[in-house]
Symmetry: C2
Subunit: 202 residues, 2 copies
């Protein structure tokens, strides 16, 4: 049995990453979505084990000490990280795993697991991203501009990703994502072992 | 405008390569299928410019001399080759090109054009290939065994291809092929230039 593949997805907020991933997970029942852990308090409507694993700071620090996190980072005094055990278990069971994390965490994963496939989802343009964020109407002008600055910083790091796709039209973006999942398993490194299989009893 | 991508497809006879390619070309009207040239005589039903460009030996030799062939080989006293000009013209027009050639020619192409994408289509097994060839009922036992020997030799060279896929179930094989076409255009090397585009007027 082949080991599962680890996919790491990053995109600035407003790129439609959530919508794309929801569709992909619906169509690929065998893809395991890894939920991150955090020490911040749940916001209204957030569910433990779905949006995040909400854990205490002491527990998070113990996990770090025991190398229990694949990657982690601290933002505004809160920890965010990827619990290692579940990811490794699934991969060893031959199940593909998908992580949704920001670019610095993604780079840490790639360093730790070289065969991870990094996928970056671009917005059509930063000005389009501004339009989308303004349209939501939920945030102040300054906060939107701060997010756009962060988005631009993230986008600059896309150059280190294996695949760079754009969410210009949702249907096309979902197709592109599916194609990456399929084709990344047909590469030479993954399928070289099939050659001997096919030649058996030739 | 991005330069077109060059796809090189190889598969032993009996792998369903023709059926897969026919479907792929039907679904991708912008994919240009490069017809090979040969000095052998047309067989019954073969059409000049469709199955091959049937040209005289002197013309072929002149093309070789003028570096007019991307790759060529001689089998049983006949030349077979890939006319260069049409392929290069299409690529420069941003049109993707697909070549269907044997493994030695494919390696020559990869050497000459490093960004060519090589795709190998495997049969489920050599014994299944034997079954398929026997089922056709058009060839003698010795000829089938000779073909199987050649197939095994070709399959061994699959390890040098970028993508290795299997035609076990036709529908799945067509999907896999489509995914390779799509995903191979979303790789870092192809889309890095999009990053600056997106950041424009940020």
């Amino acid at each position: 049995m082949n080991r599962g593949k680890l996919y790491v997805v990053s995109a600035p907020s407003g790129c439609g990453k959530g919508t794309i991933l929801a569709e992909i997970l619906k169509n690929n029942q065998n893809l395991f979505y890894s939920v991150s852990a955090t020490t911040r308090s749940p916001r209204e409507g957030e569910i433990d084990g779905v949006d995040y694993y909400f854990i205490a700071k002491e527990e998070f620090e113990r996990e770090i000490e025991n190398s229990g996190m694949l990657e982690y980072a601290e933002f505004c005094g809160n920890f965010y990280g990827t619990p290692k055990k579940k990811v490794i278990d699934k991969l060893e069971q031959g199940i593909d795993v998908i992580l949704e994390i920001e670019t610095i965490g993604a780079m840490k994963i790639k360093k730790a697991m070289n065969d991870a496939i990094l996928i970056f989802i671009l917005p059509p343009s930063v000005s389009e991203l501004r339009r989308r964020l303004n349209k939501r109407g939920t945030e102040e002008h300054e906060i939107i501009e701060k997010r756009l600055k962060e988005a631009a910083d993230e986008i600059k790091r896309a150059c280190d990703y294996d695949y760079i796709m754009m969410n210009d039209e949702l249907g096309k973006a979902i197709e592109d994502f599916e194609a990456i999942l399929t084709a990344s398993k047909l590469t030479n490194e993954n399928n070289k072992n099939m050659i001997e299989e096919v030649l058996k009893n030739a």
